[in-house]
Each structure stands twice: as structure tokens, then as C-alpha cells.
């Protein structure tokens, strides 16, 4: 029958059911590949954006506290001590924020996998697809979430409580990006997340601390009066 039709309508391509099946699976795998590399790229982009945002927010919050540093200088604190305070707070908040972010990410990944489980067999499972979060903050903490592809980038802020009985902050800053339908998790991903949170906290703390140290006390006190 196929040959008959082809004879009658030579210019029409006719596909058999078996051809069809192989075509569909072919394009499906192309789509899957595409989703994989697209997913990976997007994940990395979102991750970087979240990381940079977290660092910037932290630096901004340190800058907002300039008058506090001026006050501390006025009551006789060494710059050294102030810088130490800033870096300590930032680091603790980074670790706490990172931990909360990873917790949320893992929970998110678990939920996504559970809910969407059998429906979405193929799309998305990329290795790093979903690395995650960096959570840090000074004065206004920032908790990035991730771990699961679903949360791809940053997710809800973290409540952090800081060192030596100093600084209690609450952060709220979130956005979520839907990237994939499944959420793979690996120790490597979590490791990357922890590493990023700590590195980000150190970068932000160092920059914030350096700014605080450079301030003339009079200048710091006059700011935002």
C-alpha cells in the first residue's frame, strides 16, 4: 500500500508507523539534549547572578551601616575590631544562609521529583544543572536556595543569627526560576553550594570590612544624618 500511494503521489513523502516512531524518539532525544545543555547554561547563569547579587547585597548592607561603624569608632573601637566584627558576622550569615539555602533546595528537589515523578521521564536531568546557592548577608542576610533544578537560582531569604551575641538580622529577598522538571541532587552539587556560600561570604566580608576600615570617623558619623 505504501508503494501504491507513492506511485500515485510521487512528491509526497510517506512515513510508516515504524518510521514515525523512530522519528519521534529521535526528535525527543534532540529536545532532551537541548534541554540538558540549555538547562546547564541557564543554571550556571542563574547561579552566577544569584551569587553576584548576594555579594552586592551584602556589601550594600555593610555600606548602610556606615554610621554604626562611626559610632563604634567614636566610643573607641579599633578599626581592626570593627573589621573583624563585620567579617565574622558576614561569615556566620554566609554559613547559616548557605545551610538554609541547601535545606530549602534539597526539600524543593525532593518535592519536585516526588510530584512530577513518572510524568516527566526525560527532560532536564543535567549533572550540575542545579548547583546552588550562596547565602550571606550583613545586616540583611541573603539566603540563596538551590540544590534542586526547580529552584535553580536564589530562593527565600534566610533568618540568621550572628556571632558573639551580636547582630540579629532578618532577610527577605527571593525569586525563583523554573528550569527543569526533575531535580537531581548529588554530593558534588551540595559541595559546590557550600563552597560558593563561604567564598561569597569571604569576598563580601572582605570588601565590606575594607570599606569600614577606610572610613574617617568624622566622615562616618556625618553620613546619613
Amino acid at each position: 500500500m505504501q508503494t501504491e500511494i507513492q506511485k500515485a503521489l510521487p512528491s509526497v513523502t510517506v512515513t510508516s508507523a515504524s518510521d514515525e516512531a523512530s522519528n519521534i524518539s529521535g526528535s525527543l532525544s534532540t529536545a532532551s539534549n537541548l534541554a540538558n545543555s540549555l538547562g546547564l547554561g541557564l543554571s550556571i547563569a542563574v547561579l552566577l547572578a544569584a551569587f553576584v547579587l548576594a555579594v552586592l547585597l551584602t556589601i550594600a548592607s555593610v555600606t548602610r551601616r556606615v554610621r554604626e561603624f562611626g559610632t563604634l569608632k567614636a566610643i573607641g573601637w579599633h578599626s581592626r575590631r570593627i573589621v573583624g566584627q563585620v567579617m565574622g558576622e558576614t561569615l556566620v550569615q554566609g554559613i547559616v544562609g548557605g545551610a538554609v539555602g541547601i535545606g530549602l533546595g534539597v526539600a524543593g528537589a525532593f518535592l519536585v521529583t516526588k510530584i512530577s515523578g513518572p510524568l516527566t521521564a526525560t527532560v532536564g536531568a543535567t549533572g550540575l544543572g542545579s548547583a546552588a546557592p550562596a547565602g550571606f548577608g550583613g545586616g540583611g542576610g541573603f539566603g540563596g536556595g538551590g540544590g534542586g533544578g526547580f529552584f535553580g537560582g536564589a530562593s527565600p531569604g534566610a533568618f540568621s543569627s550572628a556571632p558573639a551575641g551580636f547582630a540579629r538580622t532578618f532577610a527577605a529577598s527571593n525569586h525563583s526560576v523554573t528550569l527543569h522538571m526533575t531535580a537531581p541532587l548529588s554530593l558534588a552539587v551540595i559541595g559546590v553550594a557550600v563552597g560558593l556560600a563561604i567564598v561569597g561570604a569571604i569576598i563580601a566580608g572582605a570588601i565590606g570590612g575594607w570599606r569600614a576600615a577606610r572610613l574617617q570617623p568624622a566622615e562616618a558619623l556625618r553620613r546619613v544624618e
Binding site: 554610621r67 559610632t71 573607641g76 579599633h78
Partner: protein
């Protein structure tokens, strides 16, 4: 005791310069209470920052207990500040993330006092300003007047030689202002500290024996016990009667 000699502080402003203080000569003996008055932008805060070793003169000298503050490196000034000066600000400047007690304690941290003693002294200072029961409260849980009391406790807890207050009642209503000023006067009398108080309120200013009036960076002393006499940097006449 302070000796100011031809003290000037010039800030760059645009292409020109502005003399926030110019040619100030003044002696402030230990234990004196002086008030500072002047129009906005005429140099009062600059004057106080100089006395607190938080800013340096562009020319002239400021000598505190024989030490030339303008010539000392920051590393030494930090210790002078920690030991000698208590600051009180118009906006209280409490650290929002610390409790009242922790805020007061922050003044003792640079002095290397053990934690237990720091706590005890901080609570005692809070009690002295009438806030013994608020030690665990955060600034956001207190009224402006209460926050300023915490700031006063923070300034006096280290028993400094000098208390410097920049418009401490500027944000407070009349009744609360009077309470705060009365509290500072009481502490000044009891402890014999030097008290320098910037205020816009002439009634408050006249409570001190002498007032420094700053006009466009120039300082003149007004003797409040002989209201018509104005003498630049002159010591107050002894035995002159108090104003009613």
C-alpha cells in the same frame, strides 16, 4: 583639660573652601559644664568632633591633658577616645541589633574589661539612668527618650573624663528634653566630669555657667552669670551671681 590654640578646620567645598572653624582659642578646665550654641551649619558639630578626637584641625592646636591630639597617629587616638570621651548624639546612634545592655557594654569592649565586670557595670549604668528593667530590650522597643538614656548610660559607663553631647534633645519633646538635660546635669555634678553640650535651646544653654557661641566658624564665649559680658575665651568671673 583642653587648650585650643588658633584652631581651624577647613573643608573643601566644590572649587572653594569652607572654614567650619577658624582661629578658635579656648581653655576648658576639668569638670566644667559648657554649652555650645550657633546657627545650623556654623560649626558646632565640627567643634565637638575636634574635642572628641574624631577629626583633626587643618591648622592650630588642640591639646588635651598635655597631649597634642592633632599630632597623634590614629592608633593612639583610638585609645585616647576609648578612655576619655563619652559621646552622645542627636539620633542616639544605638546599634539596632544589640540590646540596651549590649549597647552600653560596647563602650567597655575596647578597654579590655572582663565580660562579667562589663555586664555588671552596664546594668549599673542603665539603672542609674532609670532603665534598670529594660536591659534586655532592643532600641526599636524603646521611645526616643529611653534610647537617649541608653546612649547616656553608654557614654558614662566607662567613667570618661569628658562627655560630649551633640544636640542630645534635638529629637525630643520639651518635657523629655528637660528630663534628659536634668539627668546629664545631675551626672555632671555627681561625677565631676567635663560636660560639653550642643543645643539650639537658649533656655538649656543658659543652665551652664558659660556658653560657646559659634558664628561662621568663629567662637565667642558668653558668660551666663553676667549675661551682658561677652569675652572671647575669657575665664568666667569668679563669684558672679547666678541668673534667676
Amino acid at each position: 583639660m583642653y587648650e585650643l590654640k588658633k584652631l581651624s578646620r577647613v573643608y573643601p567645598k566644590g572649587r572653594g573652601k569652607v572654614a567650619a572653624l577658624s582661629g578658635v582659642d579656648l581653655e576648658i578646665p576639668d569638670g566644667e559644664f559648657i554649652t555650645v550654641q550657633g546657627l545650623t551649619g556654623h560649626g558646632k558639630t565640627t567643634f565637638l568632633l575636634m574635642l572628641g578626637a574624631l577629626d583633626k584641625p587643618t591648622s592650630g592646636k588642640i591639646i588635651f591633658d598635655g597631649k597634642d591630639l592633632g599630632a597623634m597617629p590614629e592608633s593612639q587616638l583610638v585609645d585616647v577616645r576609648a578612655q576619655n570621651f563619652g559621646f552622645i548624639f542627636q539620633n542616639y546612634n544605638l546599634l539596632p541589633t544589640l540590646t540596651a545592655e549590649e549597647n552600653v557594654e560596647a563602650a567597655l569592649v575596647p578597654l579590655g574589661i572582663p565580660t562579667a565586670e562589663r555586664r555588671a557595670r552596664s546594668v549599673a549604668a542603665l539603672t542609674e539612668v532609670g532603665l534598670g528593667d529594660r536591659a534586655g530590650h532592643f532600641p526599636s522597643e524603646m521611645s526616643g527618650g529611653e534610647q537617649q538614656r541608653v546612649a547616656i548610660a553608654r557614654a558614662l559607663v566607662k567613667e570618661p573624663k569628658v562627655i560630649l553631647a551633640d544636640e542630645p534633645t534635638g529629637n525630643l519633646d520639651e518635657v523629655t528634653s528637660l528630663e534628659i538635660v536634668a539627668l546629664m546635669e545631675k551626672l555632671w555634678k555627681e561625677r565631676g566630669m567635663t560636660l560639653v553640650l550642643v543645643t539650639h535651646d537658649t533656655k538649656v544653654a543658659r543652665r551652664a555657667p558659660r556658653t560657646a557661641v559659634i558664628t561662621k566658624g568663629k567662637l565667642t564665649m558668653r558668660d551666663n552669670r553676667a549675661p551682658n559680658v561677652v569675652a572671647q575665651g575669657a575665664p568666667r568671673p569668679k563669684g558672679s551671681p547666678k541668673p534667676a
